[in-house]
């Protein structure tokens, strides 16, 4: 089985988010970039398929040279080779079209991508890749087994989960649950050394348009002061929730 894992290069979850150039650009100053957590859960599951079923695992990112350390980290975790599509990730459909081309050229059976990136939260790339290449698609995937050409997946739904059957080629949108947090791998020295020697191929983008543009950003209004309620006067809290906040 040939697996392609899509890797987004995103600010670490602890990052403070700021904007520059009149709130039109994300300010990357002082920001640590990581593998998008939803992608990392999927990559870790891909490692399982590599170790238990002999799958090969390639990773792909659409972005400039600044994303290469993130791809190297994916290689250190255990991916076999990396592909960087040399173009800025302008919008969801543009990225999806680049990945679709890589997926078709490589003849992958399984394409794994986080259900959304934690920066723009577009939540569209995995589904669009599936639509573009005519593969089956399962989103918010929290379990996957593959036997031959058949796949059994578990999808998180609102308030529960469901089990689905489908066939390859398949795209899954992953999140926590496809592996547990404790299954995530911190690259060891050997992995990091090996990653330096693994291929990182740079390919040029295909011609593709965009559908959207993020023109401006805004930070949420700072919260007003908190009202503290004495633990011996919880009637006041009930009163405030009813009469002031009007939520009960």
């Amino acid at each position: 089985m040939k697996i392609l894992v899509c890797i987004s290069h995103v600010p670490d979850t602890t990052s403070k988010i700021n904007f520059s150039e009149g709130d039109t650009k994300f300010d990357t100053a002082g920001v640590q970039f990581v593998i998008n957590p939803n992608d990392e859960f999927g990559l870790t599951r891909a490692m399982w398929f590599k170790e238990k079923q002999g799958a090969t695992v390639d990773v792909v990112n659409v972005g400039g040279t600044e994303t290469e350390p993130t791809l190297r980290k994916a290689l250190a975790i255990g991916a076999d080779s990396a592909i960087r599509v040399n173009t800025p990730a302008t919008d969801g459909v543009y990225v999806a079209k680049q990945i679709a081309k890589v997926a078709q050229d490589g003849g992958y059976d399984l394409i794994i991508a986080g259900r959304e990136s934690i920066d723009y939260n577009g939540g569209m790339v995995p589904g669009m890749v599936a639509g573009l290449i005519g593969a089956n698609f399962i989103n918010t995937c929290i379990g996957l087994e593959v036997e031959g050409n058949e796949a059994t997946a578990i999808r998180e739904i609102d308030g529960g989960k469901e089990t689905l059957k489908t066939s390859l080629p398949l795209v899954i949108g992953t999140q926590k649950g496809i592996v547990q947090e404790s299954d995530l791998r911190i690259p060891n020295m050997r992995g990091i050394m090996q990653a330096r020697k693994k291929p990182l191929n740079v390919v040029e983008p295909v011609e593709a348009g965009t559908h959207s543009e993020a023109v401006k950003f805004e930070k949420p209004q700072p919260k007003g002061d908190i009202k503290l309620i004495d633990p011996d006067n919880l009637d006041e809290l009930v009163n405030l929730l009813h009469n002031e906040a009007k939520v009960i």
Partner: protein
């Protein structure tokens, strides 16, 4: 030319989000000088959508579509959009709607903006405000395509009554065999439990609860309020609660009317995940907990004493109000 809205139902009944997306679609239609057409799947009571501004309902009744199927539903909505000449399609951000939206976008070559929180800023070009960086910021996105899809965040717009005469029409999209290449074999869903996605109120516990055996008091508080239960990341990582209850940046976002955090200190990732909730109450014995800076109401003290007392007070309040 109408605005098309995908109205979700469960067991034949429209969900509350169906009325919310309809209310929003009416707002967009007014800006564009057009009407709202809804598309429903095996749902009864289409006339109820008229309360929220829907002029026409395309009713699909098809046994093959009894269970949600993203590809088939996307195909059906695409055909409804083409029939109506819809340029804007509105849907919710439920797990199902998020699943089908990108498939629909590819089929219609449409731009898709997810997590939208307000009516468009302008229609030429269509610009919408949406959350980004997992609620740490907003972004204004312009969609440049002929057909546009808007995914409306839950509770962002609310219900707006707008009584409209509704025409009902049966609609039978032609579905291909390929639409059914992913099939549900079983569903595991607690029937009587309020889900985080649907809940108006969420009661959430953190490490301060000291262990899974102490969750009973949170469940009782949640039951009293008709609320869903949730938890912080460490709690789900330690296996005290299922990861489906984990809220935060890598878990579920919560956009409830009321979020009650008990024994949760308030890591930046957690605060981001719940920031779309309207009113936040924090109960914690550490007055320095960061959550106190992000909440509306706070009680400093021992959760094991406060939670049962608060539950009693709320029961009295509910009894007095019923």
């Amino acid at each position: 030319m109408s605005v098309l809205v995908y109205t979700e139902s469960e067991e034949g009944k429209f969900k509350k989000t169906a009325f919310e997306v309809a209310s929003y679609a009416k707002g967009v239609a007014d800006m564009l000088g057009t009407d709202v057409t809804a598309v429903s799947f095996n749902a009864q009571g289409a006339g109820d959508l008229g309360q929220y501004g829907v002029s026409k309902v395309l009713k699909i009744n098809d046994d093959k579509l009894q269970k949600f199927n993203a590809k088939a539903y996307a195909d059906a909505i695409k055909q409804a959009a083409e029939k109506e000449g819809a340029k804007v399609i509105v849907l919710s951000q439920s797990a199902n709607a998020k699943y089908l939206a990108p498939l629909l976008a590819v089929q219609l070559d449409a731009g898709y903006a997810s997590n939208v929180v307000a009516l468009p800023e302008g229609t030429e070009p269509l610009q919408v405000k949406r959350t980004a960086f997992t609620n740490k910021a907003f972004n204004f996105t312009e969609l440049s395509t002929d057909v546009k899809i808007i995914g409306l965040s839950k509770n962002a717009f609310g219900l707006k009554e707008n009584a409209t005469e509704t025409k009902e029409e049966d609609f039978s999209p032609s579905l291909a065999e390929g639409d059914f290449s992913v099939n549900v074999v079983s569903v595991d869903k607690a029937a009587d439990k309020v889900t985080i996605a649907d809940a108006e109120i969420v009661v959430s516990g953190g490490r301060g609860m000291k262990g899974p055996e102490n969750w009973g008091m949170l469940e009782e508080l949640a039951d009293t309020l008709g609320a869903a239960t949730a938890c912080s990341k460490p709690v789900s990582d330690m296996g005290w609660r299922p990861h489906s209850e984990h809220v935060g940046q890598t878990g579920k976002p919560v956009a409830a009317n009321l979020y009650i955090a008990v024994g949760i200190s308030g890591a930046i990732q957690h605060l981001a995940g719940v920031s779309a909730s309207k009113t936040k109450v924090v109960i914690n014995n550490d007055p320095e907990a960061p959550f106190f800076k992000a909440a509306d109401y706070g009680v400093v003290g021992d959760a094991f004493e406060i939670v049962p007392k608060l539950t009693e007070k709320l029961k009295e309040f509910k009894a007095g109000n019923s």
